[in-house]
Amino acid sequence: MSQTVPNEYDYSVAKGFVLSALVWGVVGMSVGLWIALELAFPVLNFDLPYLSFNRLRPIHTNAVIYGFTLSGIFSTWYYVSQRVLRVPMVLPGLAKFHLVIYNLLLALGALSLFLGVTSSKEYAELQWPLDILVVVMWLTWGAHIFAMVGARREKTLYVSIWYYMASFLGVGMLYLFNNFAIPTRLIAGTGSWLHAVSGYAGTNDANVQWWFGHNAVAFVLTVPIIAMAYYFIPKQVNQPVYSYKLSLWSFWGLIFLYLWAGPHHLLYSTVPDWVQTLGMLFSIVLILPSWGSMINMMMTVKGKWEQLKTDPVLKFLVVGSTFYGFATLEGSTQAIKSVNALAHFTDWIVGHVHNGALGWVAFTIIAAIYHMVPRMWKTELHSIKLATTQFWVQSLGIVFYFSSMWVAGITQGMMWRATDQYGNLAYSFLDTVRALYPYWAMRGIGGALFLGGFVLFVYNIVKTINSAPKAAMATVAEPLSA
């Protein structure tokens, strides 16, 4: 995949998405830190709607998942696809439109959530006019994927391309079904234009939502990140993927099994028992393709482990893959009914999500950006030392995060069910809240370290870009204006 292509690569859109990953990363993580501190120090809510936890929480999740992560995914798509398909950029105008409409959508989404315009469905909060914009944005990306694949010069599709395609198809299907809702203004002719009522009621709505919600994790936070790992790990260590067979089985296994695992979010709910049991079983089996990919990523580094000492980019990639293995093991464990009985509704789940989101997703995207930026801007990384410092600061942040959330979650779960010698509940709900303040504060420290590391990252990347030769600078001016 490293053969030279006669044409010059067109990185203008990939560069634009790198910058939007930096911007949305800072926004999403700052809001995350703020709401983490609000839990520990509720005075920070300031009695204002636009600063209070409840309104900010969906802005945090949307900004980090759909802002930072999707930007990372799109930037790597526009970078990787030209290389592994061995074809210069096709439809550059469409790609620029993609960059613009995507950032516009995020800005409007954040604004609407500030105003309390939400569908309430987690990770699908945007209301119907913005949903339509999401579909347009997503189809734009899909059109570009298939146009690139159609125009390719390399006959066989590289593993990363499988994963990008699966991400497009999976999210497309899930988003359409889960957001099926009827705009009430169109029926009644009165009330807000933005309001819509869900196409599903009660238990069905929950079932569809978590079929979506769990697989949004799959097809946004896992599948395209694996695509990155399969490209950037081999590139960074300069040797091929360890096992083609393992990548093949892991891919087909993953995309098939993942879609069944959603009901583990609904254990002991009113969803039929057989659906819950099926969801639990598939969640456990899911460890096989997950670890298949993880082992494949790790083994690709075989023989190059000494490079870890000097190369911060590889540090991020290897620790990212480690966290993938760790978070998937944790997830499968939490999906076991008896474990879930304790873990569900607690901070342990929040800790689990962040193991994946910080350790796996963010680290892999950070590594990808570190790999791409010097190559796209034709320059050297500003400071390897700073990148190494960032790695350690952020790793420490993650350790603070998950250890405090483990203790908080298990404490919470145990206190909710604790009884005295007569079988009465031992603690009031408020007792369980008061017990958690130290852990929430510790989590705040973890978040602050992670955000602090991210700021170092942004500084390092901006300095790198500024050191680029003048001619390369010109191409970035336009996408930035989005």
């Binding site: 839990l39 809510n45 009695d47 709607p49 209070s52 936890f53 409840n54 309104r55 929480r57 969906p58 939400t118 569908s119 309430s120 987690e122 599709l157 499988w162 395609m165 699966a166 198809l169 299907m173 009827i182 009430t184 029926i187 009165t190 009330g191 309001h195 009522v197 869900s198 599903y200 009621a201 009660g202 069905n204 709505d205 079929w211 087909w252 995309i255 879609l259 959603g262 009901p263 002991y268 709910s269 009113t270 969803v271 039929p272 659906v275 099926l278 969801g279 598939f282 009985a341 509704f345 919470q412 909710w416 009884t419 009465n424 509940l425 709900f429 408020l430 809240v433 008061r434 929430w440």
Partner: protein
């Protein structure tokens, strides 16, 4: 055989996409569809939300209360002791969207109407720590200032009545009528709640025929039983 199949498909991207799609739809079809109609049947005695309750439910959603409060009581003794009877599917038949939540930073609210009163909620929204010392729930002073959006609630009620056959206006079921009648019903429901509240701002607005968001939200919370 598999190897040959995969190898062939890897060179044909549209077949490849088709194969992906065929695999990813199966899980959803099997898990969502078979019990779809059974899940949406209301349990006996379950009624759709009244005008003011539904208005309040929209306030609940506007403030993302479900980010910290669940509405799902699992069948464990520790939960039924704390919150009341465990959840039944038919209780949620009129919940669009469902509001089960995924995190209990605060307690479950599915049956909060059984053990909290209007004046408690009022104090709690004004200054949560006044009735729950040590809580980290935000205060919601703006709910005492902003008027409730009855038009949008009416639009939702009419939509679910027409599209999903929610039994408004049927014998023994809550009335809907037209927008004016719906507003009158909401005012009638608000009256005892406003009477039980202390806020002068809320009372003065109500005397002018305006319902504040906090009143609707309390009506909704009181209906959760």
């Amino acid at each position: 055989m598999f190897k040959a199949l995969f190898h062939a498909i890897e060179r044909r991207p549209f077949w490849f996409g088709g194969a992906i799609f065929a695999l990813i739809v199966i899980g959803g079809i099997v898990e969502v569809i078979p019990s779809f109609f059974e899940n949406s049947r209301p349990i006996q005695g379950e009624q759709p939300y009244t005008a003011l309750q539904l208005t309040g439910r929209q306030v609940y959603i506007q403030e993302s209360c479900n980010a910290c409060h669940s509405q799902l009581i699992r069948p464990f003794k520790a939960e039924t002791d704390r919150y009341g009877a465990f959840s039944k599917s038919g209780e949620y038949a009129y919940d669009r969207p469902f509001l089960w939540g995924s995190k209990r930073t605060g307690p479950d609210l599915l049956r909060v109407g059984n053990y909290r009163t209007t004046d408690w909620h009022e104090a709690h929204f004004e200054r949560s720590s006044s009735v729950s010392p040590g809580t980290n729930m935000p205060n919601f002073p703006w709910l005492f200032e902003e008027p409730a959006d009855l038009e949008t609630a009416f639009a939702e009620m009419l939509t679910v009545k027409q599209v999903y056959n929610v039994p408004y206006d049927q014998p023994g079921q809550p009335p809907l009528g037209d927008l004016e009648q719906m507003k009158q019903n909401a005012l009638r429901e608000a009256e005892p709640i406003v009477a039980a509240m202390k806020s002068r701002q809320v009372k003065e607005a109500f005397a002018q025929g305006e319902i504040k968001q906090v009143v609707a939200l309390i009506a909704y919370l009181n209906s959760l039983k």
